[in-house]
C-alpha cells in the first residue's frame, strides 16, 4: 500500500510538472519518464526516505534540459522546484479536509479505511494544481510562455532560491514527522511559515510579471513611435522632392512652349533630353515603393516594415514593396507576428547586402482564406533547406541560424501559421501563410 501511494505521488509530481511547463509529451515519452521516475523514486526513497522526492527535482531538470534542446534554463529549474513545492503544499492543504471528508462519508462503513485519506491526499495535488492553473491562465492570459522565458533570469532566480529554501526546511520536518508520527507545534509553525513564504513568492512573481510586462509594452510603444516618426520624415522628404519637381515642371513647360511657338526644334529637343527625360528616371526609383504602406492599416506592422525598409535602403538594397490590397488585421498574435517578421526581414537584409544585385522583395497578399507574407532576397550560393532551422546552423557565419530556429519556436504556438521556404541559386524566399479563422476577425 505504501508503494502504491508513493507511485501515485510520483505521478502527481509528474503531472504537476507537465501542466506548469506545458511541454508536450507523447504517450511513449510519458510512460518512459514515469517508469524511470518510479524506479528512481523507489530506490532513493528506500535509501533516504522523504528526501527521495528531492532526487525528482534532478529528474525534472533533466526533462527540461532535454526538452529545451540540451540547454538548462532558469525556467527549467523553476518548473521542477514548482512541481515539488506545489505537490507538498497542496497535499498539506488537502490532507485535513480529505481526512475529515473520508471519515464523514464512510463513518458507517466498517472496512479498513486507514489508507484511504492518504490515497486521496496523494491524488489531490495534480487535480487542484490543474484547476488552479486553468483558472489563472483563463483570467490572466498574458501569463504566456514567451514572457516567462524572456524575463526568466530576473524574476525566477529569487523564486527558485526561495523554493529551494522551502524544500530544504520543510522536508526534514516532514521526515521527522513521518518517523515519529507527531508534529510539534514548533515544527507546525515553521511549516506554516514556509507555506506563507511560498505564497509570497508566487505573489512576488505576479508583481514582477506585471512590472516587466508594462515596461516591455512601453518600450515597444516608444520604438513604434520612433519608427513612425522616421516614416513620416521619409514621406515628407519624398513630398519635398515632388514639390521641387512640380516647381521645375512649370519652368520646363514654359521653356518648351517658347521653343514650340518659335519653332526652335533644337531648343525643344535640348530641353526634352536634358530636363524632361531624366525626371522619368527619377519616378522609377523604388524608393517610392514604400508609399504602398498606406494600404497597411496595422500600425504595429507598418512601423516595423517602414523601419526595416529604410534600414535596407540605407544599406543600398533595392527594396520592392507590394501591398496591393488594403490590410486591416493580421491573422496572428501581433507580438509573435512582429517578432517573426523582424527575424525574416533581418535575415533577408543580411543576405541581400552580401550579393551583387542587393534586392529585397516584401509582398503582402490578402486572399479569401489566407494571408501571405512573402520576404524574398537575392542570395549567394544555394541554401541547404533541410538544415536551415537547426539551432545555430547558418549559411552565412554565426548567429544566422538562431533566428530561424526562433521563428520555428514561435510558430509552434501559432497553429494557423505555415511557413514556406524556397531556395534557388540566387534567390531565397520565405512565405508566411496565415489561415483565416472565423473567431479572430
Amino acid at each position: 500500500m505504501f508503494y502504491l501511494i508513493m507511485a501515485i505521488q510520483i505521478c502527481s509530481f509528474f503531472f504537476i510538472f507537465q501542466s506548469i511547463s506545458r511541454y508536450r509529451f507523447t504517450i511513449k515519452e510519458i510512460t518512459m519518464w514515469l517508469v524511470s521516475f518510479l524506479s528512481i523514486g523507489w530506490v532513493s526513497t528506500y535509501f533516504i526516505g522523504v528526501w527521495g522526492a528531492v532526487t525528482l527535482l534532478g529528474c525534472f531538470m533533466g526533462i527540461s534540459y532535454y526538452k529545451n534542446h540540451m540547454t538548462l534554463t532558469a525556467l527549467g529549474v523553476f518548473y521542477g522546484a514548482y512541481a515539488l513545492v506545489m505537490n507538498s503544499f497542496l497535499g498539506y492543504i488537502a490532507a485535513d479536509p480529505i481526512a475529515w471528508l473520508v471519515h464523514f462519508i464512510f463513518r458507517q462503513s466498517s472496512a479498513n479505511l486507514e489508507y484511504l485519506p492518504y490515497l486521496f491526499t496523494a491524488m489531490a495535488p495534480p487535480i487542484m494544481n490543474e484547476i488552479g492553473l486553468r483558472v489563472v491562465r483563463h483570467y490572466v492570459p498574458q501569463l504566456n510562455k514567451d514572457l516567462l522565458q524572456e524575463s526568466s533570469k530576473v524574476i525566477l532566480f529569487p523564486v527558485i532560491v526561495l523554493f529551494i529554501i522551502i524544500i530544504a526546511s520543510v522536508y526534514p520536518i516532514l521526515s521527522i514527522g513521518n518517523q515519529t508520527g507527531e508534529y510539534s507545534s514548533y515544527h507546525r509553525t515553521i511549516i506554516l511559515g514556509m507555506w506563507l513564504l511560498f505564497i509570497i513568492a508566487l505573489v512576488y512573481m505576479q508583481f514582477q510579471y506585471n512590472h516587466i510586462r508594462k515596461r516591455e509594452i512601453e518600450k515597444v510603444k516608444r520604438e513604434q513611435f520612433e519608427q513612425l516618426k522616421d516614416y513620416a520624415a521619409q514621406l515628407e522628404k519624398i513630398y519635398d522632392e515632388f514639390r521641387g519637381f512640380r516647381h521645375d515642371y512649370a519652368n520646363i513647360l514654359l521653356t518648351l512652349e517658347d521653343g514650340i511657338y518659335r519653332e526652335d526644334w533644337d531648343q525643344v529637343k535640348h530641353v526634352y533630353e536634358n530636363t524632361v527625360k531624366p525626371t522619368g528616371q527619377m519616378m522609377r526609383k523604388n524608393e517610392y515603393s514604400f508609399v504602398k504602406l498606406r494600404n497597411l492599416h496595422v500600425p504595429e506592422v507598418k512601423s516595423i516594415l517602414a523601419a526595416k525598409i529604410m534600414m535596407a535602403q540605407q544599406m543600398k538594397i533595392d527594396v520592392t514593396l507590394e501591398i496591393e490590397e488594403p490590410i486591416h488585421t493580421i491573422q496572428m498574435d501581433l507580438i509573435s507576428f512582429t517578432r517573426v517578421l523582424s527575424i525574416l526581414l533581418d535575415n533577408a537584409i543580411e543576405a541581400a547586402v552580401k550579393t551583387e544585385e542587393r534586392k529585397l522583395w516584401i509582398v503582402l497578399l490578402e486572399d479569401a482564406i489566407v494571408q501571405r507574407i512573402i520576404v524574398e532576397n537575392s542570395n549567394g550560393e544555394k541554401v541547404n533547406l533541410r538544415r536551415l532551422e537547426e539551432r545555430g546552423y547558418s549559411s552565412k557565419g554565426k548567429g544566422r541560424g538562431l533566428g530561424l530556429y526562433n521563428v520555428q519556436q514561435i510558430l509552434k504556438d501559432n497553429k494557423y501559421a505555415s511557413l514556406e521556404t524556397e531556395a534557388h541559386a540566387h534567390l531565397f524566399s520565405q512565405t508566411l501563410i496565415l489561415r483565416k479563422t472565423g473567431e479572430r476577425e
Binding site: T320, E322, V363, L385, Y416, L419, R435
Partner: protein, 254 residues
C-alpha cells in the same frame, strides 16, 4: 495563337502593334489575330471565341473603365487558364509578385523603358508564348486545405511529406521548397491516390519516386532527396509505384 492588346492610349497601342508585327516577322512567329482594343469588355468577349494559345498585353489602368487591369486579368483567367498574360504599365503601378501570384502573369513591361529594352522584353514574351503554344503548360495542382492551413502546389513538384519533432506538424518537401504546416499525415495520404504512406512518418508522391533502395529501406527521389520506407510496406510501395507507372505509360501511349 491570338494576340490581344488592351491599351487606351492610341499612340501606345499603335507602338506596341508595330513592335509585335516586326518581331513576329523576324522570328517567323505565326499568329491568327492581333486584336487591339481600349475596351476591357470587348476583349473579354473575344476570349471565348478562341480555342488555342493566347497572349495578352494588358495596360493596368484604363481610363473611364471600372475594370482595372487586375480585374480584367482575373476575368481572362476564368475563361483561359493557360494563356500568357503580360502587363504593360508605368512603373508606379508595378507589383510583379502580386500579379504573378494572382493571375500567373508572365512579366511586367514598363512603358517608360528605353526603346531597345522595351522591344527586348516584348520579344522575350512573344518567344515564350510561342513555345507554350506547342508545349501545353500542365496545371496539375495539389490543393490542400484544413482548419489550420490552405495552399496549392504543382503536383509534379511534390517529393514527400514527413512528420517533424513538433507534434502534429507536417513538413512538405518539394523540388525547391520546404513547407511546414499543422495537419495529420493521414489527411494528406487520403487526399490524393498518388500519395502513399510508406512509413509511419512519411507520405511519398508515387509519381516522383526515382527508385527504391531495398537494402537501406529508402525511397530515393531526384535532387538527392530520400526518405525511409517501412519494411512492412516496402513491397506495397513498389507495387503501387509500378502500377502508377504502367498507368502513366498507357495514358501517354493512347
Amino acid at each position: 495563337m491570338n494576340i490581344f492588346i488592351l491599351e487606351d492610349n492610341l499612340i501606345q497601342q499603335q507602338r506596341l502593334e508595330r513592335i509585335i508585327k516586326a518581331l513576329t516577322l523576324k522570328h517567323q512567329i505565326r499568329y491568327r489575330n492581333l486584336i487591339s482594343t481600349a475596351k476591357p469588355d470587348y476583349l473579354i468577349s473575344q476570349v471565348e471565341q478562341a480555342a488555342n494559345h493566347q497572349l495578352y498585353f494588358l495596360d493596368l489602368e484604363i481610363k473611364n473603365e471600372k475594370h482595372t487591369g487586375l480585374a480584367v486579368a482575373k476575368e481572362i483567367r476564368k475563361k483561359d487558364p493557360y494563356g500568357t498574360i503580360v502587363f504593360v504599365t508605368t512603373h508606379s503601378e508595378l507589383a510583379p509578385k502580386t500579379f504573378a501570384y494572382r493571375v500567373a502573369a508572365l512579366d511586367f513591361i514598363e512603358k517608360d523603358l528605353p526603346e531597345e529594352e522595351f522591344i527586348q522584353k516584348v520579344e522575350a514574351c512573344l518567344l515564350i508564348a510561342d513555345e507554350r503554344r506547342t508545349i501545353p503548360v500542365s496545371l496539375d495542382l495539389f490543393s490542400f486545405e484544413n482548419k489550420y492551413t490552405s495552399f496549392q502546389i504543382p503536383f509534379s513538384d511534390i517529393l514527400y511529406f514527413e512528420t517533424i519533432d513538433i507534434a502534429h506538424k507536417i513538413r512538405l518537401i518539394t523540388t525547391s521548397k520546404v513547407l511546414d504546416f499543422y495537419a495529420e499525415l493521414h489527411e494528406i495520404a487520403e487526399s490524393d491516390e498518388r500519395l502513399f504512406r510508406c512509413h509511419r512518418a512519411f507520405v511519398v508522391n508515387l509519381a516522383n519516386i526515382r527508385s527504391i533502395d531495398k537494402k537501406n529501406k529508402l525511397v530515393l527521389f531526384d535532387h538527392d532527396e530520400s526518405c525511409s520506407v517501412s519494411r512492412r510496406l516496402q513491397k506495397e510501395t513498389i507495387e503501387r509505384m509500378e502500377a502508377f507507372r504502367r498507368k502513366e505509360f498507357s495514358n501517354d501511349g493512347s
